[in-house]
Amino acid sequence: MIDNAQIEQITRKLREELGEDRVFTKTFHRMAYSRDWSPRDAKEAYLPDIVVRPFSLEEASKMVKIANEYKIPIVPYAGGTGMSGASVPIYGGISVDMKGLDEVKEVDIKNMTVTCGAGITILRLNEILAEYGLWFPHDPESKPASTVGSAVACNNDGTFAIKYGRTPDFLLNAVVVTGTGQILRIGHRKALVSSTGLKLLPLFIGSEGTLGLVCETTLRIYPLPKTRQVAGILFKSINEAMKALQRLLQTGLSVESAHINCGQRLNFYTHSFRLKYNRDPDIPEWADAVLFISFNGDEDVVNFSKNYALKVNKELNGEQLKEEAMVESWWNSKHTGSFIPFRQKWPDSQREKKFGAADLGLPVGRIEEGYKRYLEIAEKNGLEILGMCVYNEKASCISPSISFAVWVDDKDPESVRGWWNYVKEMSIMAVNLEGTMSTYWGDGQFRVGYNRIEHGDSLDFMMYVKKIFDPNNIMNPGKKFDLKELAKIDVKIEKKSE
């Protein structure tokens, strides 16, 4: 444990090295970094001991070196929209606000790459790229707040992943500060593929700040598509919708996004529709799933793609969703973010209860089974069901990343406990169904311990890797790995002479 005298010493040292305006210790500053998006008790707050906002790689490195001297935890903070508690300082320490590292260093039009500080938000990066007619097609809903660095550290989801993939497909190179403060370049510069060496980039993708700080990234970018068309198609069941999507991909169409919502999740859109238009939407009673799709590209190709997709879906008993407003509502929530003023979806829907979703990955053939288990597990844990949405997160193939959503009452400790038990049971269920526990929010604070059910002995090897980058366990302790288990891991590295 770090005592107050040490905190004062560390603060003094940080201020000497980085400057007064980089280091904050007042309670109110620390309070602002006390939680993230994850469902937890409304009154819960984990305050860091110190907030540091570095403005350069060198400053970040100096900070980590000082933290190593005192073995004080370092917890990276970017958009604060994580769903797993990864940015929450559960053991106190230093919250590092990465927003200071948000410079776009190079837009390389010839090589179609951008090199930028990891603290830039995805929305801002795309605003800048748009001036060049370019685009970074990683598109999480949280893009107005979440950063490029968090896309790497959390390997989050993106609306266009079925066409462009996600972070592993975009990230070419990174500059990181390891847990010892060493500045390290990893990756293959601007080359898209590489066969040399061992791949360190994938280790940092989804590492949730446990190996080091991702400070700079080089990303693959694309020309901005000229047009886009969006559609919704209703089906009798999720399985029918999945089959239709499989067929769409088989036709050779280039699908830009494909989300399948179950009947309950569809209610989310019908409810907003009723509020806005004061009538029931025109949806047939048999509809129990909706496939939302989009196509991008040149106008003729996009028009053809949409029409062909509708024809194929019709052959497979899919009926086009007539209510354009509902399609628009889906598109607004997933991509444009252009809400009717003053009714942005997120806080408006969270006034009473909090949205929570287990983020499982299941093989396509076991989704129906997973859906049934979801209903049982949610009910068992006393949680109101919000519905399921199947995202597809790998380029050109059915690649289910599934949001199994429920409502959590964060004013009721019982409901919060039920939620975390629900996540655990759902995670184990995913492993039993030959899938994975998490596809977009990671292990964070809450899957520590039981993630061994998925990884088995390979978790030990992950901890060896962690020890190589962070021998003192200061990088985001309590996340991904159990602290007691980490303490037993012993990796000796001969220190390179400087």
Partner: protein
């Protein structure tokens, strides 16, 4: 505590954490620290409500909370009324005695001289010397302090233009009180309430039904704040631009004289995002022959602040300068020859540095004046 009234909203933000308020906040963009963003302030507010934050830090919290132009960008990107919550937070801090001295100077000036600039009350009426008003009119022209004291010629032109368009108005002259916006926005709500009661009495005595103003700050204060602070307010409050836009739509006004200019339009926060008067200025510009309107990247509800509002100028002048520069750069990038706005505070702020940019500043009323034969 005023914050208690917003407890549900504060906990809604606490549980949501979407952060959509953060990126477009002009202050966060400069400071890059969570405590300056609305989302961070909501957690600070929670910390105050729950007693997590000691009162010894309130003075510094007041500085952070006052480092805000109350531009409403955080509210436009949210379902919560963030601007109102932040003003309530200011009010609580003022009630506890954490008062900014520069704000206080302005407020005392309102109490003594009916303007926040410590200038003589009598100077406020110079602009109206040659103008005849109709004391019987049910429409009151409310000149406002900034326009009266810093843009007297403009103000005279505004009234002359309205007269040309057949709008006759009453004016209170040296009896015109300050609207008290500074009192409200800086959290001095007890003083604001007492002041607002006096203003209401003054207005009622004249028998007017409608108040027209050119200043968006005054408009918002009378239209949106007074009804919450005084009983039986009962006045219709309009911006001049709404009147003119109505007359264009009804066909009463048709501009024939061409004004050959390439212009871009800056939505003042109080008029656009906060008062939701966004289409009208554009409808007017588009109705004037010869005007080519080129829009900036950020307009309407997503327009960027000039930095002048919320008493921020008294708190951090350098920060305001950076915010202003960023907006002027965006205006210049449009390639327009003129930056058009319709707010004396925005104008006051822009004109200090506009010489550094390849664009000139105009009030929309100046252009209307040019377009009228």
């Amino acid at each position: 505590m005023e914050l208690e009234k917003f407890k549900d909203a504060i906990y809604t933000c606490n549980r949501t954490r979407c952060g959509f308020c953060r990126e477009e906040c002009p202050v966060f963009k400069e400071k890059k620290l969570e405590s300056y963003a609305c989302r961070g302030k909501m957690l600070i507010a929670r910390g105050m409500l729950e007693g997590i934050i000691p009162e010894s830090e309130y003075e510094e919290i007041a500085k952070i909370v006052n480092t805000c132009s109350v531009c409403g960008s955080c509210a436009a990107n949210c379902a919560l009324d963030n601007d109102e919550i932040l003003e309530a937070l200011r009010a609580d801090l003022v009630k506890k005695g954490y008062i900014d001295e520069n704000h206080l100077l302005g407020i005392n000036s309102i109490l003594e001289k009916e303007n926040p600039f410590q200038l003589d009350r009598e100077d406020k009426i110079d602009w109206a010397e040659d103008i005849k008003f109709n004391k019987q009119s049910p429409i009151l022209f409310y000149a406002g302090c900034t326009d009266s004291l810093f843009y007297p010629e403009r103000l005279a032109n505004v009234v002359k233009t309205l007269k040309k368009l057949g709008i006759e108005m009453n004016y209170l002259g040296s009896d015109e009180p300050c609207c008290g916006e500074l009192m409200h926005t800086t959290g001095h709500w007890e003083k604001f309430q007492a002041h607002a009661e006096n203003v209401r009495r003054t207005f009622k005595e004249t028998g007017v039904k409608t108040i027209i103003t050119h200043c968006p700050g005054c408009l918002r204060t009378f239209r949106d704040k007074y009804p919450k602070f005084v009983e039986d307010w009962g006045f219709e409050v309009l911006h001049v631009i709404q009147l003119i836009a109505q007359k264009i739509e009804s066909g009463e006004i048709r501009f024939k004289k061409p004004v050959n200019m390439k212009v871009t339009y800056h939505d003042p926060c109080h008029l656009g995002r906060l008062a939701r008067i966004i289409d009208e200025p554009r409808a007017i510009l588009n109705a004037i022959p010869g005007i080519e309107l080129v829009e900036m990247k950020h307009i309407g509800y997503q327009s960027h602040c000039c930095g002048a509002g919320g008493g921020l100028m008294a708190i951090d002048y350098e920060l305001v300068g950076n915010i202003t520069d960023s907006r002027l750069k965006e205006a210049e990038e449009t390639g327009a020859d003129n930056l058009v706005t319709i707010c004396p505070s925005c104008e006051f702020n822009f004109e200090k540095v506009i010489r550094n940019y390849n664009i000139t500043l105009l009030d929309l009323m100046d252009i209307i004046d040019m377009a009228i034969e």
